[in-house]
Amino acid sequence: MTADEPLVEVTDLVKHFPIKQGILIDREVDQVRAVDGVSFSVARGQTLGLVGESGSGKSTVCRVMLQLLAPTSGSVRFEGQEIAGLSRRQLRPLRRQMQMIFQDPYASLNPRKRIGQIVGDPLKLQDVASGRELRMQVQELLERVGLSPEHYDRYPHEFSGGQRQRIGVARAIALKPKLVVADEPVSALDVSIQAQIVNLLDDLQDELGLTYVFVAHDIGVVRHISDRVAVMHDGKIVEEGTADQVCEHPRDDYTKKLLAAVPIPDPRESRARRASSSAA
C-alpha cells in the first residue's frame, strides 16, 4: 500500500434494476440503468462531491460502493482490495471502515432507542467497547459533534433537525471509519443549520483524517466542502474535476445548465442574469 494510492477506486460500476412483468412468471421486460458505467477514485483525506438531480443515480452509486446493493458489474476497490462480490461475512470487518450519514434526520434514527444506544450500537456490534467504557466513548462522541453528554439518555424526538443530524454524524464516526459517505446530509435542514453541519464535517475531517463522499443536489454546498466534484446525469458522470474547475469553468452542457439554475442570493446580479437570459 502506498501513500498516494486512493482510498476508494470505482471502475466501470454498473447497477441495473430489472423491470418485471407478469404474475406467475416474472419476465424481465426492461431495465432501469440507475448507474451506467461510473468510474472515479477518492484520495485519502479528501472529499469527492457527487452532484446531480433526483434520479441521476448518485444515491445508488453510494449504496453500491458500500456494497449495500450488489453491483450488476464493475469493480470497487477499497484500500486496494476488491470488495465487489464479497460475502456479507467477508464484508463485516470492512464495514467499520466505511460508514454512512443519511439524508433524513427524522427517519434515520430509531424513535424507540435512546441517543446513547443509537450512537453506541456500532461500537457494541463491532465489539469495540461495552459497559462503562462504551458509555464514556459515546459521551465523548456526543461532545465532539457539538451535543452534550447529558443527551445520552434522551430520545430522538427531543431534538431538532440539526441536532438529529449531529447524532447521525456521531454514529457514523463512532467506529473511526476511514470513509464516510454522506447522502444529502444537509438538504433537509434550514440554511443556517446547513452551515453548522457542513462546518462540523469539515472540522471532523481535519481532526480524524476522514475521507468523504458527499452527495447533494445543492451544487453550492458541494463546491464548498469538496476537493473534487463529479456531476452525474442519467446514471453517468458527465464531468469531473476540482471543485473550482467544475463550478467556475464547466465544460459539459448539463453542468452549465445545472449551475445556471442555482439562484444567486443577490438581487442585482439576479436581475442582471434574468435580463441577459431573456434577451438571449
Binding site: S54, V191, D202, H217, G220, E269, S270
Partner: protein, 345 residues
C-alpha cells in the same frame, strides 16, 4: 404603493394550547400586501411563517388555537368569517400552493378531474366539458406539454416539477387575487425550481396576481420578491424592500441568514459562516430579544424586547427589532468583506 392594500394583517397572533402551556407560534405580525406585489416571508422552521400563511385562509382554526388580531381582504375580515364565507374566499380570491407536490393531490383521481372539481365547486353552471376545457387551458398555461392528453393522467404519472405546476394551475383556476405559496420549490431540483420561479414571476407580472412567498431560502427570495419580512420565533424581526434586506440589513439574524449562504459567484471561503445554536423553544422564549442567546453583538439593552421600528432616517418603510445603533451595525455586519454574523466570542 396604493393607499388601500389588497390584503392586510394587523397584530396577528396565533397561539396553541399544548400540554407544555400556551405556544405562541405567531406573535404580533402585521403586513400589507399591495395588488401585484410579491411579499416574501423568510425564516427558519418554527419561525411562524407557515402558521401565518395558513391562518390567513383559516386553516389553523381548531379548538386549541387562539387567534387574535385582524386579517382583511379588501372589506372582508377573514378571522371572523364563517366557514361558508371562507370557502368562498379560498380558491376564489386567495389560493394556496403547498410545499409537497406529492401529497397535495388526491392520488386516486385524475389530475384534470381534481381541477374541474375545484372550478365546479365555485362556479355554478359550468359543465364538466367546459371545466375540462378550462383545465387543459390552465395546464397548458403553466407549461405542461401535451396538456390535452395529460389532463387525464393520475398524479403519480407526473414528475415532481410537473405536479407543482399542476398545483399552481389548480390554484389559478378561479383567477384569485392572492396566491400564497408555502415553500413551493423546496422539494424540487434546482433546474425545476428555476422553472417554477419563472412561472410564479410571469403570473405576477402578466396577470398581476399578488403573491405571498414563504421560504427559508434567500436565493429564491432574491429571484422573485419585491418586499421581504424576516421572521424569528413568531415575530417579524426585519421588514424592508428586497434591496434594503440584501444590501442594508439591520438585524443580526438577517446578517446570519445572508452570511450562511453558499455563493457560486464568489471564491469559496475557508469556512461557512453559521448562526450558532438553535432557535429557542416557543414555550420558553428568552427574556428580551429572542435572538439574544445566539447573537454575538448582545449588550445590556437587549434584555428588553425592541419594537419593530424604522430606525433609519432615509428609509421609513425599513423596520427592524434591534437596539444597535445603525452606524455601528454597518461596521459589525461586515465580516471578511461580506455581510455575515461573526463567530461568538
Amino acid at each position: 404603493m396604493s393607499p388601500a392594500p389588497l390584503l392586510s394583517a394587523q397584530g396577528l397572533r396565533v397561539g396553541f394550547t399544548t400540554e407544555g402551556g400556551l405556544l405562541q407560534a405567531v406573535d404580533g405580525v402585521s403586513f400589507d400586501l399591495a395588488a401585484g406585489e410579491v411579499l416574501a416571508i423568510v425564516g427558519e422552521s418554527g419561525s411562524g411563517k407557515s402558521v401565518t400563511a395558513q391562518t390567513i385562509v383559516g386553516l389553523t382554526r381548531s379548538p386549541n388555537a387562539r387567534i387574535e388580531g385582524s386579517v382583511r381582504l379588501g372589506d372582508t375580515e377573514l378571522l371572523d368569517a364563517s366557514e361558508t364565507e371562507l370557502r368562498k374566499v379560498r380558491g376564489e380570491r386567495i389560493a394556496m400552493v403547498f410545499q409537497d407536490p406529492m401529497t397535495s393531490f388526491n392520488p386516486v383521481y385524475r389530475l384534470g378531474a381534481q381541477i374541474v372539481e375545484a372550478i365546479r365547486a365555485h362556479r355554478d353552471g359550468v359543465s364538466k366539458s367546459e371545466g375540462r376545457a378550462r383545465a387543459v387551458e390552465l395546464l397548458d398555461s403553466v407549461g405542461i406539454p401535451d396538456a390535452e392528453r395529460r389532463v387525464d393522467d393520475y398524479p403519480h404519472e407526473f414528475s415532481g416539477g410537473m405536479r407543482q405546476r399542476a398545483m399552481i394551475a389548480m390554484a389559478l383556476a378561479l383567477e384569485p387575487e392572492v396566491l400564497i405559496a408555502d415553500e413551493p420549490t423546496t422539494a424540487l431540483d434546482v433546474t425545476i425550481q428555476a422553472q417554477v420561479l419563472r412561472l410564479l414571476e410571469s403570473l405576477n407580472r402578466e396577470r398581476g396576481v399578488a403573491t405571498i412567498l414563504i421560504t427559508h431560502d434567500l436565493g429564491v427570495v432574491a429571484e422573485v420578491a419585491d418586499r421581504v419580512l424576516v421572521m424569528y420565533a413568531g415575530r417579524v424581526v426585519e421588514e424592508g424592500t428586497l434591496d434594503e434586506i440584501f444590501y442594508d440589513p439591520q438585524h443580526p439574524y438577517t446578517w446570519g441568514l445572508l452570511g450562511s449562504l453558499t455563493r457560486l459567484d464568489r471564491p469559496r471561503p475557508k469556512r461557512l459562516r453559521q448562526i450558532s445554536g438553535a432557535p429557542p423553544s416557543l414555550l420558553s422564549l428568552p427574556e428580551g430579544c429572542s435572538f439574544r442567546p445566539r447573537c454575538p453583538h448582545e449588550f445590556a439593552k437587549c434584555m428588553e424586547m425592541p419594537g419593530l421600528e424604522a430606525r433609519l432616517a432615509d428609509a421609513p418603510s425599513h423596520c427592524d427589532r434591534c437596539w444597535l445603533d445603525p452606524e455601528r451595525k454597518r461596521e459589525k455586519r461586515e465580516v471578511g468583506g461580506q455581510i455575515g454574523l461573526e463567530a461568538p466570542a
